[in-house]
Structures are given as C-alpha cells and as structure tokens.
C-alpha cells in the first residue's frame, strides 16, 4: 500500500521537476535529498559523532542561529504595523501589544529573543574560546564571529530606540553622548549617527533603516560565511 503511494507521489513530472531524485529508500538517495537541496546542503552528508555531543557545544551556535531566525520572522511581522514616525511610533508599539491579534506575543518574542541573543552569542564565543576552536585554520572564522557579535550588539542598540519610550530615548541619548566623546571625530560621528544634534525624527529613521535592513543584511551575509567556513574546515573543531 505504502509502496503504491510512494510510486504515485514520486513517479510524476511535478515531483521529478522539483526534486529530481527518487524517493529516499537507500543511503544514496537519502544523501541526494540533502545534496540536491539548496537549504539542506549546508549540512554535510556525514557528521562526526563527537561534534554532536551536546555537552561539548551546548548547541549555542545553533541556538544563536535559531534566535536570529525568530528575530527575523517576528521582526518582519512587526514591520507591518510599526511606523518609525515620532508622533506614532510609541502608539504603534502599544497597538501591537493590545490591539493587533497575537501582537503581544510577537512583540514579546522579538524583545526576549533580542536580549537572549546577546547573551547566547557571548556564551557561544566563550565556548569557542575555551574549546580552542579558534586555532589554525579557524582563525578567520573566529574573526567573522567577532564581527557578528558586534553586529548583534548594534542590532540590539538600534532596535532599542524604536519603541520611542523613555527607556529608549534616554538610553540612546546617553550612548550617542558617549560617541560624541570619541577623540577628534566624536562630534561629527555623533552628528551622522543622529542625523542631527538631538534624538529626534532623523535619529529614529536612521536607526530604523540600520535595524531592519543594513545590519540584518550584513549579519546574514556574515552568518553565511561563518557556516561556509565551518564546512570548509571539516565541521566543528575536534581534538587532534
């Protein structure tokens, strides 16, 4: 019976056009399912058993990526109701919480995932350090990871302003005043970051564009390189 279903499902032009391989009934076809798929072939065909040991990595890199996906999905959904205009940003945030269906959980998930991601990527960095997984030939990937960490922090910072509440306004006032103290270029840097001299509409739209477009794009490309590098280096670092 199941054999018949498998035949009907996979022996037609639609299936063959999409999947190209047969139904996975043996090892070769099972590996073809992975290797013929754009998204799945980020995984190798085979993994070392020690790489899968939970205690070794605590899955922190995986959790970081998962949080990034959650932030992206919830973020995109939030974008349908939030407008970065000073006269309505706070109200939009309140609407998301109390008026929009499932808005409360989406907004909360976004905020919790954001705070968690900062903690988790930091712990991931610690794990990589303490297992010496940055050693040759993985030095470049460590560097990519550090840049990703900084990216995460900037995403957190830019997102913090968007609710346009007291917490947001004063936090960014303080941080941009800190930027202003940078030697020589501090004043100019603060002017460009804020788009002016005060934390106002210009600052809000700049932070919004950085938060929803520039930094996620940059992070996405770097995550891609980060994963690519792990594959190229033969999987997670193992003891010699």
């Amino acid at each position: 019976m199941t054999q018949r279903i498998k035949e009907i499902v996979s022996q037609n032009r639609v299936w063959k056009s999409i999947f190209r391989h047969g139904f996975p009934v043996n090892a070769r076809l099972r590996s073809e399912v992975i290797t013929w798929n754009l998204f799945l072939h980020i995984h190798p065909v085979k993994v070392y058993k020690e790489s899968l040991r939970f205690r070794k990595t605590l899955g922190l890199g995986l959790i970081s990526f998962y949080l990034f996906v959650i932030l992206t999905v919830t973020g995109i959904l939030l974008m349908f109701y939030y407008v970065p205009y000073t006269e309505r940003a706070y109200q939009d945030m309140k609407d998301l919480q109390y008026v929009v269906s499932f808005g409360m959980i989406l907004r909360n998930m976004h905020r919790w995932a954001a705070h968690s991601m900062v903690a988790v990527v930091f712990l991931h960095m610690c794990r990589v350090f303490y297992t010496a997984a940055y050693k040759e030939p993985r030095e470049f990937n460590w560097g990519v990871g550090v840049v990703l960490f900084i990216c995460t922090l900037f995403l957190s910072l830019t997102g913090y302003l968007l609710p346009w509440d007291q917490l947001a306004y004063w936090a960014i006032t303080i941080v941009t005043n800190l930027i202003g103290t940078f030697p020589l270029i501090g004043g100019k840097l603060k002017y460009i970051v804020l788009g002016g001299t005060v934390v106002g509409q210009n600052a809000l739209i700049r932070f919004y564009v950085m938060h929803v477009l520039v930094l996620p794009l940059f992070a996405f490309i770097l995550v891609f390189i980060h994963f690519w590098r792990i594959r190229k280096d033969g999987g997670l670092a193992r003891p010699e």
């Binding site: 004063w170 006032t173 005043n177 800190l178 002017y191 460009i192 002016g196 001299t197 106002g200 210009n202």
Partner: protein, 154 residues
C-alpha cells in the same frame, strides 16, 4: 621609434582600472557625504518665551526647551537642563538648593557648578534678554557667566 615599455593593452587596462576605481570611489565619497544632513528640522537655538511675570519666584523647569528659568527677586536667569555628563535632565532639589542628575549622580550647586559626580563641566547659563514686546528672548548660542542676569520689574 624606441620600443615602448607599455603596450596599448597596458594602457587600456590602466584606463579600465582608473575608470572603475574612479567610479566606485566617487560613489563611495558621494554616499558618505550624502549621510551628513545639511538642513535640520530641529527646534531653533534662540527663541522667545513668555513675559517675566509668567515665571514665578524660584526655579522653573521648561520641558519643551530643556531649560530652567531661575527667578530670584528682580533677577532672572536661564540655565540649561541638560546634564553635561551624558545628557539626562538634572532635577532641582529645593531643600538642598542643588540640581541632582538621576542618571549617574552628578550634583550641581545653585550656581550651576558641579560639586559631585562625573559631569565634566558646569551647567551653562544662557543669555536672556527682554524683547520689545515684553517677552523674554533666550539665545542658547551665547553662554554667559553666573554674574549675568536680566533685571525685571515684577
């Protein structure tokens, strides 16, 4: 004719690099300059307030302008309400006659001079004059010493 060190091919290659680097360099410089605003739609640095009698005796906080209008007897002064440390708003504490900043604990005395905390500079006093319409005119671009005050008859 002597043998040229560079061929026509080399010249065209050099031309190609010059064009592409020039283009991308130009685009980069233009994009960077683009990010620096030329006009700001921000509140002006000099503005008119109400008449002197609108500000009762003591320290009056104006949240929209982020200044304090200090009215003592027949003398009127205007001081900034932006802490010189990181930009929070210091609060006037009447009992202690000081401004206390809630963020990092800077304290300024009634002359605006810092007496405690991490603030590097005193709170600046702004020039305040009387307009012909009888309204106060504050110019934040002009910082005045503590001895400066506007004499008002109230």
């Amino acid at each position: 004719m002597s043998r040229d060190r560079h061929s026509r091919r080399d010249f065209l290659s050099w031309l190609g690099w010059f064009a592409s680097l020039g283009t991308f360099g130009g685009i980069s410089v233009a994009s960077a300059r683009y990010m620096v605003p030329n006009i700001l739609y921000e509140p002006p640095k000099s503005y008119r307030l109400g008449k002197p009698e609108d500000y009762p005796e003591g320290v009056n906080y104006l949240p929209d302008r982020r200044i304090f209008v200090v009215h003592k007897g027949d003398r009127l002064k205007v001081i900034s309400a932006v802490c010189t440390h990181m930009g929070c708003t210091p609060r006037w504490v009447e009992e202690k006659q000081v401004w206390e900043c809630p963020c990092h604990g800077s304290i300024f005395n009634d002359k605006g001079v810092k007496i405690a905390g991490p603030a590097p500079d005193p709170l600046p006093w702004y020039e305040v004059t009387l307009g012909r319409d009888g309204r106060l005119f504050v110019d934040e671009r002009r910082i005045v010493p503590f001895s400066y005050a506007l004499a008002v008859k109230v």
